[in-house]
């Protein structure tokens, strides 16, 4: 591995941001409307499995991606039902959803595929002209479709959230559900929508691991990435620019750790692997004194005042 250059590090850093971006942007939709979905990691695992299985069986990456989106949507709907209609405690029910996804994806994998195999995932697409720019082009414009999609999602969701009536409703429902309700906005419908969008994006985040980045599936493939994605939403202060910064920061840390291992730098690999989790805790603690507040209604079921 002598050809592992700085450009390769940054390029893989950009690529590794893909799952973080999809999952945290999805989670951000839910949280802005007041729903904390902690089941992201479980949905990612199910999405990763669905995409992998479908791709192995049909040979079509597009169908695989679609399957991940559908599975993610179903699990998102389930989470919406639990948290909006049943008004369940969101933290614990998310953990339940995680355990379900963790067990179910392992069960299905063992029952339907059985052994670790690989697929030919989404290949890099060289963007004409741009990919020939030295350094910048090599880093940014030789990625796979899902990576481009993840970065394109940042401005798209910014537009939806801040420039459309729907986005206004989402944010209103998260800040002041009583007020939104009195203006005729259906709090429940908005929350169902955002949590389902979150589910779809989490499913795609899983697919980006199993059919674009790693091109394998195994039990517990995500190793807590979904939880880091939730932490990224706090880190980003519920703003898309913050999410983007956070996702790139984390993926660069991952890339550097890969690089250190390839170079045989003498730190035990276990400590290198620990870094993202330690940073997550430190970052969350460092944000304590910041003057950004979570959506006011986050993690609070909406109950129409009946007197």
């Amino acid at each position: 591995m002598t050809g592992f250059t700085a450009i390769d590090i940054f390029s893989s850093g950009i690529r590794l941001a893909t799952p973080y971006l999809y999952a945290s942007i999805g989670e951000n939709f839910g949280q802005l409307s007041g729903i904390l979905n902690l089941g992201v990691d479980g949905i990612m695992l199910m999405g990763a499995y669905a995409a992998f299985f479908t791709t192995v069986k049909t040979g079509s990456l597009v169908l695989g991606l679609l399957a991940a989106g559908v599975v993610g949507a179903l699990l998102g709907l389930a989470m919406a039902f639990i948290s909006v209609t049943m008004k369940a405690e969101q933290g614990i029910s998310g953990i339940g959803l995680y355990l379900f996804g963790l067990g179910m994806s392992e069960l299905l994998f063992k029952k339907t595929l059985g052994e670790v195999q690989t697929v030919a995932g989404f290949a890099p697409v060289y963007i004409p002209w741009l990919s020939n720019i030295p350094v910048v082009g090599e880093i940014l414009f030789r990625q796979n479709v899902l990576a481009y999609g993840a970065f394109a999602l940042v401005p798209v969701s910014w537009f939806v959230l801040y420039k459309t009536p729907l986005g206004l409703k989402v944010r209103a429902v998260g800040q002041n559900p009583e007020g939104a309700d009195s203006l005729g906005v259906s709090v429940a419908r908005v929350r169902y929508l955002t949590v389902t969008i979150g589910g779809i994006l989490s499913g795609i985040a899983g697919a980006s691991l199993s059919i674009a980045l790693l091109n394998v599936f195994q039990e517990n493939l995500t190793y807590g990435m979904g939880f880091i994605a939730v932490a990224l939403v706090y880190f980003g202060g519920w703003r898309l620019s913050g999410l983007l910064t956070g996702a790139i920061l984390f993926s660069m840390v991952n890339a550097l750790q890969l690089w250190a291992q390839v170079r045989g730098i003498k730190i035990p690999s276990e400590f290198a692997l620990m870094i993202p989790y330690v940073i997550t805790i430190l970052v969350l603690a460092a944000l304590a004194k910041r003057r950004i507040h979570a959506p006011a209604a986050l993690n609070k079921p909406f109950e129409r005042g009946e007197g």
Partner: protein, 373 residues
């Protein structure tokens, strides 16, 4: 009559977890059918694998033990309004510190070494849970996220220790490098209760269930923990050190899980090992303990039968896997569903209780002037 009604409501309320369990089992049966397995055969294998003979029963109780330790901690934490998802990591650090003590002081008398190892596990778990509590109380860090991150950190720490400084010298000599410690001195084996794998740890866990009950409902500290969990404003108003009690809740939860890890390693494995993830050692007890506590309605005594039931499910799943060829991961998925159903049905329960309360109140209070008109 009134008391009668309330009693009926309470009985119905305590049955909701059972309903949640049955619903999960039903879904499990449907999945078995989809996989082409006979659900009746599968469940028969599961039950006989869990209760079929003395050994099976003993294994069920042994499996239930770490669940009970973690679950008891969850009872304290959840009652105190803090969510401890860090059972996995706390079990691991508890077991690791027990291992360190057993391997470093092999010449101590057995009972002293056992006591030291158990206390070591308890303290390690307390520190590990306490970190999350401290971060929540003073830095406003969501404890669910911090405890989950601490789980992964504990696993990597364990892998480092077991592949490096703590590895069994025999593994180096043989060149096989299996990441595990040497076997602990035999004097540290927890006594077996009957000629099965059942060990004293089961008794310790039940003893602690009683202690946790006394702590929560018979002491001022317990009252304050529950008050902070129930109504933080009232607790603040009453001058309770809310932040301190948040830390305490997670610290106690961590200490029980840490003790559970130490008991597990002294009672079952007699050495620490890793399969690279936490599951190899914990068997997901850190998560399943949450299921047990929720199932036991966050009551320490209720958590005992809940742990045994889940222990049976986990033990029986292995037999089921052999007989009908359905991976035991099925039980993991069903446990997730049980959590969702129990937490989700809470609203039904509350609604029902509230409705009856209201009718009772209306029936028992004289009409006000306004209502008379």
């Amino acid at each position: 009559m009134k008391e009668m009604d309330q009693r009926i409501v309470r009985v119905l309320a305590s049955l909701t977890p059972v309903g949640a369990f049955l619903l999960a089992i039903l879904i499990g049966a449907v999945m078995l059918v989809i996989f082409g397995a006979n659900p009746l055969m599968a469940f028969r294998a599961l039950v006989s694998g869990a209760f079929g003979n003395m050994n099976a029963l003993a294994d069920t109780l042994v499996k239930a033990t770490p669940l009970l330790f973690v679950g008891l901690g969850i009872c304290i934490a959840f009652r105190g309004g803090v969510l401890n998802i860090g059972g996995e990591g706390q079990l691991v650090v508890g077991a690791l510190s027990a291992a360190l003590i057993c391997l470093n002081f092999p010449n101590w008398p057995g009972w002293a070494l056992i006591m030291a190892a158990l206390l070591g596990g308890l303290f390690a778990g307390a520190i590990y849970g306490g970190i999350a509590g401290f971060l929540k109380a003073y830095f406003n860090v969501n404890e669910i996220l911090s405890t989950i991150m601490l789980n992964y950190i504990a696993v990597f720490g364990m892998n480092y220790l077991l592949r490096g400084p703590l590895i069994d010298p025999m593994q180096i000599k043989l060149g096989s490098f299996i990441p595990e410690t040497a076997r602990f001195p035999r004097a540290t084996d927890l006594p077996r209760l009957v000629p099965t794998r059942l060990h004293l740890g089961v008794g310790i866990a039940i003893l602690f269930a009683v202690l946790v009950y006394i702590l929560l409902w018979r002491t001022t500290i317990g009252f304050r923990i529950r008050m902070v969990g129930k109504n933080i404003r009232a607790a603040l108003g009453a001058g309770i050190n809310v932040k301190g009690y948040m830390v305490l809740g997670l610290l106690l939860a961590g200490s029980l899980a840490g003790l559970g890890g130490a008991v597990e390693v002294l009672g079952v494995n007699h050495r620490m090992f890793t399969d690279g993830s936490a599951f190899g050692f914990t068997g997901s007890a850190g998560f399943n303990g949450i299921v047990a506590a929720l199932f036991g309605q966050l009551h320490p005594v209720g958590t005992i039968p809940a742990s045994i039931m889940l222990g049976a499910l986990l033990t029986g799943a292995n037999q089921m896997q052999r007989v009908v060829q359905v991976p035991s991961a099925l039980v993991g998925a069903l446990n997730g569903l049980i959590v969702v159903f129990v937490v989700g049905s809470e609203i039904l329960r509350l609604r029902q209780v509230r409705r009856v309360d209201r009718t009772l109140r209306v029936a028992s209070t004289p009409l006000s002037e306004e209502e008379k008109r």
